[in-house]
Protein backbone atom coordinates (compact mmCIF):
# COMPACT_ATOMS: atom_id res chain seq x y z
CA UNK A 1 0.00 0.00 0.00
CA UNK A 2 2.83 2.28 0.87
CA UNK A 3 4.49 1.69 -2.51
CA UNK A 4 1.21 2.16 -4.34
CA UNK A 5 0.68 5.45 -2.57
CA UNK A 6 4.16 6.57 -3.54
CA UNK A 7 3.51 5.68 -7.17
CA UNK A 8 0.25 7.63 -7.21
CA UNK A 9 1.91 10.63 -5.64
CA UNK A 10 4.77 10.48 -8.14
CA UNK A 11 2.38 10.26 -11.06
CA UNK A 12 0.35 13.21 -9.79
CA UNK A 13 3.51 15.17 -8.87
CA UNK A 14 2.29 15.73 -5.34
CA UNK A 15 4.66 16.34 -2.38
CA UNK A 16 5.39 13.13 -0.57
CA UNK A 17 6.14 14.65 2.83
CA UNK A 18 2.65 16.16 2.99
CA UNK A 19 0.73 13.00 2.26
CA UNK A 20 3.04 10.31 3.63
CA UNK A 21 4.22 12.22 6.68
CA UNK A 22 7.81 11.35 5.95
CA UNK A 23 10.48 13.57 7.56
CA UNK A 24 11.92 16.41 5.49
CA UNK A 25 15.31 17.77 6.49
CA UNK A 26 16.72 21.11 5.29
CA UNK A 27 20.16 22.19 6.32
CA UNK A 28 21.84 25.54 5.83
CA UNK A 29 25.57 25.23 6.27
CA UNK A 30 26.51 23.68 9.57
CA UNK A 31 24.53 26.06 11.74
CA UNK A 32 20.89 25.85 10.77
CA UNK A 33 18.54 23.00 10.26
CA UNK A 34 14.82 22.55 9.71
CA UNK A 35 13.05 19.25 10.28
CA UNK A 36 9.47 18.75 9.18
CA UNK A 37 7.13 15.96 10.13
CA UNK A 38 8.47 14.79 13.44
CA UNK A 39 6.66 12.90 16.16
CA UNK A 40 8.36 13.85 19.42
CA UNK A 41 11.58 15.05 21.02
CA UNK A 42 13.36 12.22 22.77
CA UNK A 43 16.35 14.02 24.18
CA UNK A 44 17.56 17.59 24.18
CA UNK A 45 20.84 18.89 25.54
CA UNK A 46 23.25 21.54 24.32
CA UNK A 47 25.32 18.84 22.60
CA UNK A 48 22.70 16.43 21.36
CA UNK A 49 19.15 16.47 20.06
CA UNK A 50 17.23 13.27 19.33
CA UNK A 51 13.96 13.50 17.47
CA UNK A 52 11.49 10.71 16.73
CA UNK A 53 10.09 10.62 13.18
CA UNK A 54 7.99 8.24 11.09
CA UNK A 55 11.06 6.60 9.64
CA UNK A 56 13.39 6.47 12.62
CA UNK A 57 15.23 8.58 15.17
CA UNK A 58 17.29 11.50 13.97
CA UNK A 59 20.23 12.33 16.16
CA UNK A 60 21.94 15.72 15.81
CA UNK A 61 25.20 16.16 17.61
CA UNK A 62 27.41 19.18 17.98
CA UNK A 63 27.66 22.01 20.49
CA UNK A 64 25.67 25.11 21.44
CA UNK A 65 22.60 23.46 19.98
CA UNK A 66 19.36 25.26 20.69
CA UNK A 67 15.88 25.10 19.28
CA UNK A 68 15.01 28.34 17.58
CA UNK A 69 11.33 27.55 16.95
CA UNK A 70 8.96 24.64 17.32
CA UNK A 71 5.42 24.00 16.34
CA UNK A 72 3.43 20.85 15.81
CA UNK A 73 4.85 20.37 12.29
CA UNK A 74 8.47 21.45 12.32
CA UNK A 75 11.53 22.20 14.37
CA UNK A 76 14.17 24.85 13.64
CA UNK A 77 17.51 24.07 15.15
CA UNK A 78 20.51 26.36 15.38
CA UNK A 79 24.00 25.81 16.63
CA UNK A 80 27.13 24.07 15.44
CA UNK A 81 26.07 20.67 14.12
CA UNK A 82 28.88 18.20 13.73
CA UNK A 83 27.01 15.00 12.88
CA UNK A 84 23.59 13.78 11.86
CA UNK A 85 22.77 10.12 12.23
CA UNK A 86 19.66 8.07 11.87
CA UNK A 87 19.01 5.37 14.43
CA UNK A 88 16.64 2.45 14.47
CA UNK A 89 13.21 3.23 15.92
CA UNK A 90 13.53 3.59 19.66
CA UNK A 91 11.02 3.78 22.48
CA UNK A 92 10.72 6.73 24.78
Amino acid sequence: MGKKQEKILDRLHLPREVFLNIPLLEMEGLGRLRLENYKSILEFTSTCLRVQTEQGVFCFQGFNIFIRYVNSQEIFIEGTIRSICIEEEAHE
Binding site: S40, F44, F66, R68, V70
Partner: protein
Amino acid sequence: MKGKTGRYLRGSVRIRVKGLYLSRFLNLITQKGIEYWDVCQTGGYLEVSFAAKAFKDVAYCAKKSGNRIKVLDKKGVPFLMFRYRKRKLFCIGILAALAIIMVLSNFLWTITIDGNTTLTKLEVLERLESFGVREGMWKWSLNCYQVKEKMLTKYSDLGWLSLTIRGSTLEVRLSEAVETPDIVQKGEPKDLVSDRTCIIYSIVTRSGVPKVKKGDVVQEGDLLIAGTQEIVGDDGSVTAYDYVEADGDVLGKCQYELESSVARDYIQRQYYEKEKTGLYIASNAKRTMIFKPIKNFTYYDTVEEELFAGATDFLSKLPFVPDFSIWKRTYLGYEPSRAQYSDEEMQSILEEDLARQETALLHNKNSVILDRQVEMAPTQEGMRGVLRLTVMEKIGKEQPVERMPDPVPPQDESGQP
Protein backbone atom coordinates in the same frame (compact mmCIF):
# COMPACT_ATOMS: atom_id res chain seq x y z
CA MET B 1 1.00 39.37 12.13
CA LYS B 2 3.89 36.94 12.23
CA GLY B 3 7.46 37.22 13.37
CA LYS B 4 8.95 39.28 16.16
CA THR B 5 6.42 42.09 15.78
CA GLY B 6 3.52 39.71 16.12
CA ARG B 7 5.04 38.11 19.19
CA TYR B 8 5.60 41.51 20.77
CA LEU B 9 2.05 42.62 20.10
CA ARG B 10 0.58 39.42 21.54
CA GLY B 11 3.04 39.22 24.42
CA SER B 12 5.54 36.46 25.23
CA VAL B 13 6.85 34.81 28.39
CA ARG B 14 10.22 33.15 28.97
CA ILE B 15 10.40 30.43 31.60
CA ARG B 16 13.00 28.17 33.12
CA VAL B 17 11.98 24.54 33.51
CA LYS B 18 13.60 22.38 36.16
CA GLY B 19 13.03 18.67 36.35
CA LEU B 20 13.96 15.26 35.07
CA TYR B 21 11.50 14.95 32.20
CA LEU B 22 12.31 17.98 30.08
CA SER B 23 11.77 16.22 26.77
CA ARG B 24 8.38 14.98 27.92
CA PHE B 25 7.45 18.52 28.86
CA LEU B 26 8.39 19.74 25.35
CA ASN B 27 6.37 16.97 23.71
CA LEU B 28 3.34 17.73 25.88
CA ILE B 29 3.27 21.39 24.99
CA THR B 30 3.80 20.50 21.31
CA GLN B 31 0.81 18.17 21.47
CA LYS B 32 -1.29 20.98 22.89
CA GLY B 33 -0.47 22.99 19.74
CA ILE B 34 1.55 25.58 21.62
CA GLU B 35 4.31 27.16 19.60
CA TYR B 36 7.53 27.90 21.45
CA TRP B 37 10.93 29.26 20.51
CA ASP B 38 14.47 30.05 21.68
CA VAL B 39 14.79 26.75 23.52
CA CYS B 40 18.19 26.27 25.11
CA GLN B 41 19.56 24.13 27.86
CA THR B 42 21.77 25.75 30.47
CA GLY B 43 23.20 23.81 33.35
CA GLY B 44 20.48 21.21 33.63
CA TYR B 45 17.62 23.70 33.16
CA LEU B 46 15.62 24.34 30.06
CA GLU B 47 14.70 27.86 29.03
CA VAL B 48 11.88 28.35 26.60
CA SER B 49 9.75 31.26 25.31
CA PHE B 50 6.13 31.05 24.23
CA ALA B 51 3.02 33.18 23.75
CA ALA B 52 1.61 34.70 26.92
CA LYS B 53 -1.89 33.33 26.19
CA ALA B 54 -0.61 29.78 26.51
CA PHE B 55 0.87 30.18 29.98
CA LYS B 56 -1.90 28.26 31.72
CA ASP B 57 -1.53 25.28 29.41
CA VAL B 58 2.26 25.35 29.75
CA ALA B 59 2.00 25.41 33.53
CA TYR B 60 -0.39 22.47 33.37
CA CYS B 61 2.01 20.54 31.09
CA ALA B 62 4.92 21.27 33.42
CA LYS B 63 2.97 19.99 36.39
CA LYS B 64 1.83 16.92 34.46
CA SER B 65 5.39 16.08 33.38
CA GLY B 66 6.74 16.53 36.87
CA ASN B 67 8.71 19.70 36.22
CA ARG B 68 8.80 23.07 37.92
CA ILE B 69 8.75 26.35 36.09
CA LYS B 70 10.00 29.80 36.94
CA VAL B 71 9.09 32.91 34.95
CA LEU B 72 12.20 34.73 33.80
CA ASP B 73 10.83 37.49 31.62
CA LYS B 74 7.56 38.89 30.31
CA LYS B 75 7.65 40.94 27.13
CA GLY B 76 5.02 42.52 24.95
CA VAL B 77 2.20 45.00 24.70
CA PRO B 78 -0.19 43.29 27.16
CA PHE B 79 2.42 43.53 29.94
CA LEU B 80 3.26 47.10 28.97
CA MET B 81 -0.39 48.06 29.20
CA PHE B 82 -0.72 46.37 32.57
CA ARG B 83 2.39 48.17 33.85
CA TYR B 84 0.94 51.55 32.82
CA ARG B 85 -2.66 50.78 33.76
CA LYS B 86 -2.66 53.73 36.17
CA ARG B 87 -1.10 56.02 33.60
CA LYS B 88 -3.88 56.16 31.03
CA LEU B 89 -3.67 59.90 30.59
CA PHE B 90 0.05 59.59 29.93
CA CYS B 91 -0.65 57.24 27.04
CA ILE B 92 -3.48 59.42 25.80
CA GLY B 93 -1.10 62.40 25.97
CA ILE B 94 1.49 60.62 23.85
CA LEU B 95 -1.11 59.68 21.28
CA ALA B 96 -2.55 63.18 21.30
CA ALA B 97 0.91 64.68 20.80
CA LEU B 98 1.51 62.39 17.82
CA ALA B 99 -1.88 63.26 16.39
CA ILE B 100 -1.25 66.99 16.84
CA ILE B 101 2.12 66.72 15.11
CA MET B 102 0.57 64.78 12.25
CA VAL B 103 -2.21 67.36 11.83
CA LEU B 104 -0.01 70.42 12.21
CA SER B 105 2.53 69.10 9.72
CA ASN B 106 -0.11 69.64 7.04
CA PHE B 107 0.24 73.40 7.37
CA LEU B 108 2.92 75.68 6.03
CA TRP B 109 4.72 77.23 8.97
CA THR B 110 7.78 78.79 7.37
CA ILE B 111 8.48 80.53 4.10
CA THR B 112 12.17 80.82 3.27
CA ILE B 113 13.29 83.16 0.53
CA ASP B 114 16.59 82.86 -1.24
CA GLY B 115 18.15 84.69 -4.16
CA ASN B 116 16.68 88.15 -3.68
CA THR B 117 19.07 91.08 -4.02
CA THR B 118 17.10 94.28 -4.67
CA LEU B 119 13.75 92.88 -3.56
CA THR B 120 13.33 92.67 0.20
CA LYS B 121 11.92 89.58 1.89
CA LEU B 122 8.90 91.56 2.94
CA GLU B 123 8.14 92.52 -0.67
CA VAL B 124 8.37 88.92 -1.80
CA LEU B 125 6.09 87.81 1.04
CA GLU B 126 3.58 90.51 0.15
CA ARG B 127 3.59 89.36 -3.47
CA LEU B 128 3.04 85.77 -2.40
CA GLU B 129 0.21 86.86 -0.13
CA SER B 130 -1.53 88.51 -3.07
CA PHE B 131 -1.77 84.99 -4.54
CA GLY B 132 -3.03 83.48 -1.31
CA VAL B 133 0.29 82.04 -0.14
CA ARG B 134 1.06 82.82 3.50
CA GLU B 135 2.39 81.18 6.64
CA GLY B 136 -0.19 79.00 8.36
CA MET B 137 -2.05 77.95 5.25
CA TRP B 138 -3.12 74.38 4.46
CA LYS B 139 -0.20 73.16 2.36
CA TRP B 140 -2.20 70.75 0.19
CA SER B 141 -4.26 73.64 -1.18
CA LEU B 142 -1.17 75.28 -2.67
CA ASN B 143 -0.47 74.64 -6.32
CA CYS B 144 3.17 75.71 -6.59
CA TYR B 145 3.27 75.55 -10.37
CA GLN B 146 0.21 77.75 -10.85
CA VAL B 147 1.38 80.36 -8.34
CA LYS B 148 4.83 80.42 -9.94
CA GLU B 149 3.40 80.96 -13.44
CA LYS B 150 1.09 83.74 -12.27
CA MET B 151 3.89 85.53 -10.41
CA LEU B 152 6.26 85.37 -13.35
CA THR B 153 3.56 86.75 -15.63
CA LYS B 154 2.57 89.57 -13.30
CA TYR B 155 6.01 90.71 -12.12
CA SER B 156 8.48 91.46 -14.86
CA ASP B 157 11.35 91.97 -12.42
CA LEU B 158 11.40 88.24 -11.66
CA GLY B 159 13.60 86.30 -14.04
CA TRP B 160 13.21 82.88 -12.50
CA LEU B 161 11.13 81.53 -9.64
CA SER B 162 10.88 78.19 -7.87
CA LEU B 163 8.43 77.18 -5.13
CA THR B 164 9.10 73.91 -3.31
CA ILE B 165 7.33 72.50 -0.29
CA ARG B 166 9.68 70.60 2.04
CA GLY B 167 7.79 69.33 5.06
CA SER B 168 6.18 72.40 6.57
CA THR B 169 8.47 74.87 4.86
CA LEU B 170 7.91 76.61 1.56
CA GLU B 171 11.25 77.28 -0.11
CA VAL B 172 11.13 80.19 -2.49
CA ARG B 173 14.13 80.58 -4.75
CA LEU B 174 14.17 83.45 -7.17
CA SER B 175 16.42 85.23 -9.53
CA GLU B 176 15.74 88.87 -10.34
CA ALA B 177 15.62 89.97 -13.93
CA VAL B 178 18.35 92.37 -14.90
CA GLU B 179 17.02 95.41 -16.69
CA THR B 180 18.60 95.71 -20.07
CA PRO B 181 20.47 99.00 -20.37
CA ASP B 182 19.75 101.36 -23.24
CA ILE B 183 21.93 100.06 -25.92
CA VAL B 184 23.71 102.65 -28.03
CA GLN B 185 25.01 100.87 -31.06
CA LYS B 186 28.69 101.45 -31.50
CA GLY B 187 29.14 103.19 -34.79
CA GLU B 188 25.85 105.03 -34.64
CA PRO B 189 26.39 108.69 -35.35
CA LYS B 190 26.13 110.90 -32.28
CA ASP B 191 27.11 114.34 -31.00
CA LEU B 192 28.96 115.20 -27.82
CA VAL B 193 27.17 117.93 -25.88
CA SER B 194 27.92 119.66 -22.60
CA ASP B 195 26.19 118.37 -19.47
CA ARG B 196 26.93 121.42 -17.29
CA THR B 197 27.95 125.06 -17.33
CA CYS B 198 31.72 125.55 -17.42
CA ILE B 199 34.72 127.09 -19.17
CA ILE B 200 36.50 124.86 -21.65
CA TYR B 201 39.97 124.02 -20.37
CA SER B 202 41.08 121.65 -23.12
CA ILE B 203 39.57 119.69 -26.01
CA VAL B 204 41.07 116.65 -27.72
CA THR B 205 39.01 115.39 -30.67
CA ARG B 206 39.39 111.85 -31.88
CA SER B 207 36.49 111.86 -34.34
CA GLY B 208 33.91 114.45 -35.31
CA VAL B 209 34.16 118.21 -35.67
CA PRO B 210 35.07 120.31 -32.56
CA LYS B 211 32.74 123.25 -32.09
CA VAL B 212 34.38 124.87 -29.06
CA LYS B 213 37.90 125.89 -28.11
CA LYS B 214 39.84 126.57 -24.95
CA GLY B 215 38.40 129.45 -23.01
CA ASP B 216 34.86 129.22 -24.38
CA VAL B 217 32.01 129.35 -21.91
CA VAL B 218 29.46 126.61 -22.50
CA GLN B 219 26.05 126.00 -21.02
CA GLU B 220 24.30 122.70 -20.55
CA GLY B 221 23.25 121.31 -23.94
CA ASP B 222 25.81 123.24 -26.01
CA LEU B 223 27.47 121.25 -28.77
CA LEU B 224 31.08 120.35 -28.01
CA ILE B 225 31.98 117.91 -30.79
CA ALA B 226 29.64 117.45 -33.75
CA GLY B 227 29.05 114.09 -35.33
CA THR B 228 27.97 115.68 -38.60
CA GLN B 229 30.70 116.34 -41.12
CA GLU B 230 30.03 118.47 -44.13
CA ILE B 231 31.43 117.30 -47.42
CA VAL B 232 32.29 120.34 -49.44
CA GLY B 233 32.54 120.25 -53.19
CA ASP B 234 35.05 122.02 -55.44
CA ASP B 235 32.90 125.04 -55.62
CA GLY B 236 32.80 125.35 -51.83
CA SER B 237 29.19 124.31 -51.37
CA VAL B 238 28.08 121.45 -49.19
CA THR B 239 27.39 118.49 -51.34
CA ALA B 240 26.60 115.92 -48.67
CA TYR B 241 26.76 115.17 -44.99
CA ASP B 242 28.71 112.40 -43.35
CA TYR B 243 27.69 111.19 -39.93
CA VAL B 244 30.20 109.82 -37.43
CA GLU B 245 30.31 108.94 -33.76
CA ALA B 246 31.75 112.04 -32.08
CA ASP B 247 34.54 111.07 -29.71
CA GLY B 248 36.99 113.11 -27.67
CA ASP B 249 38.08 114.32 -24.24
CA VAL B 250 36.76 117.69 -23.19
CA LEU B 251 37.96 119.10 -19.90
CA GLY B 252 36.10 122.01 -18.37
CA LYS B 253 36.55 124.27 -15.38
CA CYS B 254 33.41 124.10 -13.25
CA GLN B 255 32.47 125.99 -10.16
CA TYR B 256 30.51 124.54 -7.29
CA GLU B 257 29.16 126.28 -4.23
CA LEU B 258 28.35 124.23 -1.13
CA GLU B 259 26.57 125.69 1.89
CA SER B 260 26.09 124.66 5.47
CA SER B 261 24.88 126.36 8.63
CA VAL B 262 24.79 125.58 12.33
CA ALA B 263 22.82 127.11 15.19
CA ARG B 264 24.68 128.38 18.23
CA ASP B 265 22.11 127.06 20.70
CA TYR B 266 21.77 123.33 21.01
CA ILE B 267 20.40 120.76 23.41
CA GLN B 268 23.14 119.06 25.38
CA ARG B 269 22.42 115.55 26.58
CA GLN B 270 23.72 114.53 29.97
CA TYR B 271 23.30 110.80 30.07
CA TYR B 272 22.46 109.00 33.28
CA GLU B 273 24.78 106.29 34.47
CA LYS B 274 22.10 103.61 34.59
CA GLU B 275 20.71 102.13 31.38
CA LYS B 276 17.52 100.15 30.92
CA THR B 277 17.61 97.05 28.76
CA GLY B 278 14.77 95.16 27.11
CA LEU B 279 14.58 92.07 24.90
CA TYR B 280 12.37 91.34 21.96
CA ILE B 281 11.96 88.75 19.24
CA ALA B 282 11.58 89.95 15.66
CA SER B 283 9.87 87.64 13.18
CA ASN B 284 9.25 88.95 9.65
CA ALA B 285 7.67 92.34 10.30
CA LYS B 286 6.42 91.64 13.83
CA ARG B 287 8.15 92.41 17.12
CA THR B 288 7.25 90.69 20.35
CA MET B 289 8.70 92.11 23.56
CA ILE B 290 9.98 89.38 25.87
CA PHE B 291 11.08 91.79 28.57
CA LYS B 292 10.06 95.43 28.72
CA PRO B 293 11.83 97.51 31.36
CA ILE B 294 10.14 100.28 33.27
CA LYS B 295 11.55 103.50 31.93
CA ASN B 296 11.47 106.18 34.54
CA PHE B 297 13.03 108.89 32.43
CA THR B 298 11.30 111.27 30.06
CA TYR B 299 14.06 111.66 27.49
CA TYR B 300 16.03 108.73 26.18
CA ASP B 301 17.94 107.39 23.19
CA THR B 302 17.32 103.87 21.95
CA VAL B 303 20.12 101.56 20.83
CA GLU B 304 19.32 98.17 19.34
CA GLU B 305 21.68 95.24 18.96
CA GLU B 306 21.09 91.76 17.58
CA LEU B 307 22.03 88.87 19.90
CA PHE B 308 23.00 85.30 19.07
CA ALA B 309 22.85 85.95 15.31
CA GLY B 310 24.57 82.68 14.44
CA ALA B 311 22.35 80.55 16.67
CA THR B 312 19.09 82.09 15.45
CA ASP B 313 20.17 81.67 11.81
CA PHE B 314 20.86 78.00 12.50
CA LEU B 315 17.56 77.45 14.36
CA SER B 316 15.58 79.22 11.65
CA LYS B 317 16.71 76.59 9.15
CA LEU B 318 15.15 73.75 11.19
CA PRO B 319 11.65 72.48 10.33
CA PHE B 320 8.72 73.98 12.28
CA VAL B 321 10.90 76.94 13.27
CA PRO B 322 10.00 80.30 11.67
CA ASP B 323 12.57 82.91 10.71
CA PHE B 324 13.32 84.96 13.84
CA SER B 325 16.01 87.03 15.55
CA ILE B 326 16.61 88.20 19.12
CA TRP B 327 17.34 91.88 19.79
CA LYS B 328 18.47 93.80 22.81
CA ARG B 329 17.07 97.31 23.15
CA THR B 330 18.96 99.68 25.44
CA TYR B 331 17.35 102.87 26.67
CA LEU B 332 19.88 105.60 27.46
CA GLY B 333 18.15 108.21 29.52
CA TYR B 334 19.46 111.73 29.53
CA GLU B 335 18.78 115.11 30.99
CA PRO B 336 18.53 117.73 28.27
CA SER B 337 19.98 121.13 28.90
CA ARG B 338 20.52 124.17 26.77
CA ALA B 339 24.08 124.92 25.77
CA GLN B 340 25.90 127.04 23.25
CA TYR B 341 28.68 126.21 20.84
CA SER B 342 31.75 128.36 20.87
CA ASP B 343 32.93 129.96 17.63
CA GLU B 344 35.67 127.39 17.23
CA GLU B 345 33.22 124.53 17.71
CA MET B 346 30.82 125.97 15.15
CA GLN B 347 33.63 126.38 12.64
CA SER B 348 34.74 122.85 13.19
CA ILE B 349 31.20 121.51 12.67
CA LEU B 350 30.79 123.53 9.49
CA GLU B 351 34.12 122.40 8.09
CA GLU B 352 33.24 118.80 8.76
CA ASP B 353 29.89 119.11 7.05
CA LEU B 354 31.32 120.96 4.05
CA ALA B 355 34.06 118.35 3.68
CA ARG B 356 31.40 115.63 3.70
CA GLN B 357 29.43 117.42 1.00
CA GLU B 358 32.59 117.91 -1.05
CA THR B 359 33.44 114.20 -0.89
CA ALA B 360 29.93 113.25 -1.95
CA LEU B 361 30.03 115.71 -4.85
CA LEU B 362 33.41 114.68 -6.22
CA HIS B 363 33.08 110.97 -5.53
CA ASN B 364 34.18 108.84 -8.53
CA LYS B 365 34.59 111.83 -10.80
CA ASN B 366 38.38 111.93 -11.31
CA SER B 367 38.21 115.69 -10.78
CA VAL B 368 41.13 117.97 -10.01
CA ILE B 369 40.47 120.77 -7.55
CA LEU B 370 41.96 123.96 -8.88
CA ASP B 371 40.78 126.31 -6.18
CA ARG B 372 39.08 125.91 -2.82
CA GLN B 373 37.75 128.76 -0.78
CA VAL B 374 35.89 128.55 2.49
CA GLU B 375 34.01 131.45 3.96
CA MET B 376 32.55 131.46 7.44
CA ALA B 377 30.26 134.22 8.55
CA PRO B 378 28.31 134.61 11.78
CA THR B 379 24.53 134.81 11.50
CA GLN B 380 21.76 135.70 13.91
CA GLU B 381 21.19 132.03 14.81
CA GLY B 382 24.80 130.89 14.70
CA MET B 383 27.21 130.57 11.79
CA ARG B 384 27.06 129.95 8.05
CA GLY B 385 29.78 128.40 5.93
CA VAL B 386 30.20 128.48 2.16
CA LEU B 387 32.67 126.37 0.21
CA ARG B 388 33.51 127.47 -3.32
CA LEU B 389 35.26 124.90 -5.48
CA THR B 390 36.81 125.38 -8.88
CA VAL B 391 37.22 121.96 -10.34
CA MET B 392 38.62 120.67 -13.60
CA GLU B 393 36.79 117.60 -14.82
CA LYS B 394 35.72 115.75 -17.89
CA ILE B 395 32.44 116.98 -19.34
CA GLY B 396 30.15 115.89 -22.15
CA LYS B 397 27.42 113.43 -22.83
CA GLU B 398 26.41 111.62 -26.00
CA GLN B 399 23.27 112.39 -27.89
CA PRO B 400 21.99 111.10 -31.23
CA VAL B 401 22.84 113.19 -34.24
CA GLU B 402 20.18 115.36 -35.83
CA ARG B 403 20.17 114.35 -39.42
CA MET B 404 20.34 117.23 -41.90
CA PRO B 405 18.28 117.23 -45.06
CA ASP B 406 20.30 116.28 -48.12
CA PRO B 407 21.61 119.44 -49.77
CA VAL B 408 20.15 120.35 -53.14
CA PRO B 409 22.92 120.30 -55.78
CA PRO B 410 23.42 123.66 -57.54
CA GLN B 411 21.85 123.83 -61.01
CA ASP B 412 23.22 125.51 -64.12
CA GLU B 413 21.27 127.76 -66.48
CA SER B 414 19.82 124.80 -68.31
CA GLY B 415 18.30 123.48 -65.14
CA GLN B 416 20.60 120.43 -64.86
CA PRO B 417 22.78 119.66 -61.85
